[in-house]
Assembly symmetry: C2
Homo-oligomer: 266 residues x 2
DNA sequence: TCAAAAGTGTTGACCTTACACCCATGT
DNA sequence: ACATGGGTGTAAGGTCAACACTTTTGA
């Protein structure tokens, strides 16, 4: 690929996908950032992401970036907004299709493996200054997350295949940043038929072991939300925009991730 | 602008904004399509839209296209999804940031002015075959509209500044395609403080004149929805993604529209 | 037997739904 | 005076929110 190989009769912007990767760890909401090694914004933290390939779908590009960055795939991934202010990247016009991803706690160790160098989980409450307009993107992603929490059960994606109701409640509490009544929360879960007891019980706790639950639909993503009403709104959930983007394999990404960490994206 | 003027070291896709323009007319939901005058899909109907300029925001591009196509501005416009399958345009890789717009019934005549040639309103129930992946985009836009109807009051945007409750109810009925109980609907409206009686009354009707109402917030866009529950979901409305994109002027667009109709976009 | 978290029911307030008749105006 | 759409109330059922104690286990 030599210089100026690609020529067009009209100006074309560059197109990237950036991913806001959420997880819950140490009882708080975290997101994954990478430290930039080149100008502009050298040394600052930014969202993982990169240019789309010309022969891949946007979803595919996001899934690829995610896997390269974290070694994780088969994870909840959703496009939420496209950003395109003319000067958002000082080098050239860049359109960024933003995605958010939810990584379950039991896959985190994988992602943590990538932490080696210039990739790091940050507490959502204590984010560093971000490059480009990434602070805006993160803010919007968080709002989308809260909105989804209130209207869907996507947040199950933060948990392993089998989980206790207390764990699920904690996820809700962490993201909403408010306490939830245990009885009411459980009544809500009972009313959903896609969250079901497995019959198995937690082991190894120094107290009464909790029942393990699991989500019954393939994608764990179902309408319905519990919580205080913010207003009189009633929701239908838009099923179209929800998806888990599956990619083959699961761990193959790790190796790629290690390699990629040396290079810098964007 | 000569051939191959724009050169890059990496391949760049083209980026367009396409707009799904809704209105309610003759008691049914319509959308605006333009007929393609060039290959591919020559003669087929497609969404209005076009390439973004390198110095304008995405929202601005959409607003500009909208004004060029319909002569209307200062109208509800919202980005809802970006489409980027590799072969969606057979000529080159095209990323399309899709918007939807709501045009109030009293501004329609303007848009109808553009109807002259190859632009036309279609009943949503009777759409022709669409070019590219525009059928998918339209479907998604409609789902977004229904979803918003149930959770917000955006649909006020279909109506003039002052409207009767029967008109508002009709909009709901047309979009949901089901009848609504008048008393309950009015109770719901009463419960909102951003829809208020003006004190004025309708004139010229051969029956008891209806009270005129108006929306009190600048953008007429507020959480809250009335209707049958589809599930137990409760919504918080994401305020960030809502906006009316205002542009200066209002009618200046007409002239531009007429000019543009001769040229073809995309 | 104690500590620690799991688990469970009831009530009052409010919202949602279903339903039918009188009112104000123009012709 | 009549035709046309405008406008209103009530009761039953369901959902939400607030609240505290008993159970099961491991140490």
């Amino acid at each position: 690929m030599t210089d100026k190989t690609y020529q067009y009769t009209h100006p074309h912007p560059a197109v990237t996908t950036d991913i806001v990767i959420f997880t819950v760890q140490d009882d708080s909401l975290k997101l994954l950032l990478i430290q930039r090694g080149v100008e502009p914004f050298k040394g600052q933290w930014a969202l993982p992401g990169g240019f789309i390939n010309m022969d891949e779908d946007l979803d595919h590009a996001a899934a690829r970036e995610l896997e390269e960055e974290t070694g994780v795939c088969d994870v909840y991934l959703e496009q939420f907004k496209t950003w395109g202010a003319p000067k958002r990247d000082p080098r050239e016009r860049v359109i960024t299709v933003a995605y958010f991803a939810i990584i379950p706690s039991d896959k985190i160790t994988l992602a943590a493996g990538s932490d080696a160098d210039n990739v790091q989980w940050f507490d959502y409450q204590k984010l560093p200054a971000l490059a480009f307009d990434h602070a805006d993107i993160v803010k919007q992603a968080h709002e989308t997350l809260v909105d989804k929490l209130k209207r869907t059960t996507v947040v199950i994606q933060f948990l392993p295949e089998e989980f206790t109701l207390t764990q699920l409640q904690r996820i809700h509490e962490i993201i909403l940043n408010e306490d939830i009544d245990k009885r009411n929360f459980r009544k809500w879960v009972e009313s959903l038929d896609y969250i079901q007891a497995t019959g198995k019980k937690e082991t190894g706790s120094a107290h009464r072991p909790a029942m393990l639950y699991t989500a019954t639909t393939p994608d764990n993503i179902q309408p319905a939300k519990w919580g205080k009403r913010e207003n009189k709104a009633v929701a239908k959930v838009d099923d179209e925009t929800r998806q888990v983007i599956h990619r083959q394999g699961y761990n193959e990404g790790l190796e790629a991730a290690m390699k990629q960490l040396k290079g810098l994206r964007k």
